[in-house]
């Protein structure tokens, strides 16, 4: 264990505390570190790149893994969580572990991991006709708690993974600079980067120019169809449609949308508008809130006047999270549905009850998932990062993506990026802690195990229903098949004629 942790110490520039496994979600600002940082800067290292690279290189044969996640600035709480997920996965891989799974083809769940406790040995009909108990779904479907297997490898192809993770500081231009640095200077084998869509779009052209393999591990508004890019976060068809289904069925058809006034909010609201008629519902009102706003009295008044059945919430960021306590104080009692809050920003832990009461979110992962498998995952995570405030959705995405990459490299037999892309397109499915997930060859997106979480007045989480396997079908419907035809763009809903096709129906 210690050799690998020391490796971490060398690779991760800032956090000496992390190496001892005592958790580093908030790195202490020691004077020693500050002086060291200032001294290094002042030394004029531009003239001596070779010296620095010699210090960082853990070994000539290591696989260089580039990670660009914000550890300071606006998105720090999300980036730190994803960084930890990546570190946990790399440690497991270097120690010789891998996620259960492999090349499976889109045969659906149950092909690999789902085995009954006892296979049926007798004719079912005969058993039932003779008064025996009918077979039941829940006996066929069992999920082993242990999701890790020995890979039979030390690291990947005998090479350890070396993590290079500079801090882009929630700054889009830093993303660009650091991406170039990782690609041209450090010559990494893969890059995983970005929280906000703006950050992703800032570097995707650079990835494409340099044919760099790129993973974007975050939920987003969907539509990326890029030969070099793989997305492991949830997309609207996996989150928005299910939550709408549930909320409409349980609370009613009149929807009022509150969305952040930028791409994610606008596009998510467009999805809601388009899907509502198909689900026999109606968006009776919409409001787009600028990112800087933190006072919601007029919005709350409008909501009270509109009297919807439930609220569709696409608000984001520190400023917007103030809506919940304010709405609670104003006595707003409408149920709320979302694809983003709680699971990503753990508002139910950060705000006092009952601010998030009646909140529902469809998440690809939450710390509270009660399966034995997830309990094991949380235990392992907290063993490495004891101070982690919350295991958020995207830390899980980052973790899964890292293991997926390792499996693809093993399958490809090389780190050559074009070959690894092909391996990722071979039909890989893995036993993620959330459940079995599958990397779709055509869209380069991950199928997701979606659970609907409900937050009650004490901020306890209950999972009301789940969709074990939702495929990323939207870009497929647009005709995207990256395994056959390379593309390098992002689609938006307006390019999809289906979105408008069923709008005329006014019930």
């Amino acid at each position: 264990m210690t050799t690998d942790e020391k490796k971490f110490d060398v690779c991760v520039p800032t956090d000496a505390a992390d190496a001892s496994g005592t958790g580093g979600s908030s790195a202490g600002l020691t004077r020693r570190d500050l002086i060291k940082a200032a001294a290094v800067t002042g030394a004029g290292v531009l003239a001596a790149p070779a010296l620095l690279r010699a210090q960082a290189a853990g070994g000539a044969a290591s696989i260089k893994f580039g990670l660009l996640e914000d550890r300071s600035g606006n998105f720090a709480i999300f980036g730190l969580n994803k960084w930890h997920g990546t570190q946990l996965a790399i440690k497991e891989i270097n120690d010789g572990w891998t996620l259960d799974g492999g090349v499976q083809g889109p045969g659906g769940p149950g092909v690999h991991a789902k085995v009954a406790a006892k296979p049926p040995t007798t004719n079912i009909k005969a058993t039932v006709d003779n008064g025996g108990a009918p077979a039941r779904d829940d006996t066929v479907w069992t999920e082993p708690a242990e999701y890790l297997l020995k890979s039979g490898d030390k690291g990947v192809l005998g090479r350890q993974i070396e993590l290079l993770a500079p801090d882009p500081q929630s700054d889009n231009t830093q993303f660009q600079t650091l991406a170039r640095r990782l690609i041209l200077d450090d010559k990494v084998d893969v890059i995983m980067a970005g929280f906000a869509s703006a950050e992703r779009e800032a570097i995707r052209p650079i990835m494409d120019q340099n044919k760099m393999l790129y993973f974007y591990n975050n939920q987003y508004e969907g539509g990326v169809a890029d030969k070099n890019t793989f997305c492991t976060g949830a997309v609207p068809e996996q989150q928005i449609v299910p939550v709408m289904q549930y909320m409409i069925k349980n609370f009613g058809p009149r929807i009022y949308t509150l969305a952040a006034d930028y791409n994610f909010g606008q596009l998510s609201a467009a999805w809601t508008r388009a899907m509502a008629p198909l689900l026999n519902a109606e968006v009776i009102g919409e409001e787009f809130i600028p990112l800087s706003v933190s006072q919601f009295s007029s919005s709350i008044a409008k909501i009270q006047e509109a009297k919807p059945s439930w609220l569709m919430m696409y608000i984001t960021g520190q400023n917007h999270s103030n809506f919940y306590p304010q709405a609670n104080a104003a006595g707003l009692k409408f149920p709320m549905g979302s694809s983003i809050n709680i699971a990503q920003g753990y508002e139910h832990r950060r705000f006092a009850p009952p601010a998030l009461n009646r909140f529902h979110v469809t998440a690809s992962y939450m710390e509270e998932i009660p399966t034995p498998r997830n309990k094991l995952f949380v235990k392992r995570w907290r063993a490495m990062f004891a101070d982690e405030p919350y295991l958020a959705m995207e830390g899980h995405s980052a973790y899964v993506a890292t293991h997926l990459y390792a499996k693809a490299v093993r399958l490809a037999g090389t780190t050559d990026k074009a070959t690894v892309v092909k391996a990722l397109e071979s039909g890989l499915g893995v036993e993620a802690p959330a459940g079995w997930v599958f990397m779709d060859p055509a869209t380069h997106h991950l199928s997701q195990y979606i659970r609907l979480a409900r937050c009650d007045e004490k901020h306890n989480i209950t999972f009301m229903t789940e969709w074990p396997h939702i495929e990323p079908w939207w870009t497929r419907r647009l005709g995207v098949n990256l395994a056959r035809t390379a593309e390098y763009k992002q689609y938006i809903p307006d390019e999809d004629p289906f979105f408008k096709m069923f709008q005329k129906k006014k019930g």
């Binding site: 790195a27 790149p49 300071s72 170039r180 041209l184 800032a202 930028y262 606008q266």
Partner: protein, 347 residues
Amino acid sequence: MRGPLGIFSRVGGRQDLGRGAAFWVAFAIVALGLVAFPLFGSAFYLSNLANFFVYVPMGLGLCLLWGYGGILSFGQASFFGISGYVYGIVAQNLSLTPGASLLGVAAAILATVIVAALFGYFVFYGQVSAWIIPLLTLVLSLILETFMAQTAGYQWRIGHVLLGGYNGMTGIPSIQVGPLEFGGASIALYLLTVIAMLLGYLGLRLLVNSHFGYVVVGVRDDVERTRMLGYNVARMQVTVFALAAGLAGLSGVLYVSWGNYINPSSMGLYAATLPVIWTAVGGRSSLIAVTLSTVALKWLADSLAVRGGEYAFLIMGALLLATMLFFPAGIVVSLNRLWRRARRQAP
């Protein structure tokens, strides 16, 4: 001051630090070194340095406007952004036309100058009080950032180019002249930024030492006096403002050629403040000081991001604070004064 070699004596004039043979020899050596760097620098270093040099014209523009013209503006980032967006719109819409990117460059810088002239017209001909001008330019950058951030939908497009909202505009092609592409990691772009930096510096140095330059300084030192010597002060201020904006526009097109991407945060509050910091820390009264400080501070920010992580903000903030307290005239300018004083006192 007006010798037979008019231009040479003017470039060497006293409106900037550094005169005489020793300075110019050093300048030539550095310039040659920069131009020759591609011979022994890696693609990454070229790309990184190009990124620093991209911002020098914008810093020099503010130096002219604030240091020499006396007008503090937070608007350089706005014009940087307008330029980047206009280039992106024109170059992508006309992508099939030969010379599209050059048309884009021309359109971008022209648009920037026009917007600046319009803004300047209302501000300077409207005789707005001097202390309000920085606030107005700040408001301009906030308005532009906020407006662009909400252009996410499909209806926000010009031609077939989406503005992109908060996510920004991607796929902006690099400047292309014939077969030569000025891409982010290319030698061509590196040399272009070096040339832009050198020519920008020399050109402005020539300007500030010219008659026009002296009048600009006169407007800064005593507006009333200059007006009463027969100068249309408002028109001069608009001219200088538009010139500074044009330089910011130059930085803008160089940036999108380097990064193929622009988004509203390039025009936001943080971006608007950066040129002011570079200029203040170097010393706004000197073009060479601002050139040095812009490159140095961009390099510092880059180094801190790679090695210092969360200390980056702290160190930059502390640096600015220290400069304001101990070197209010700017670090380079103050050091120059100390050096000259020491030289005079030396036996």
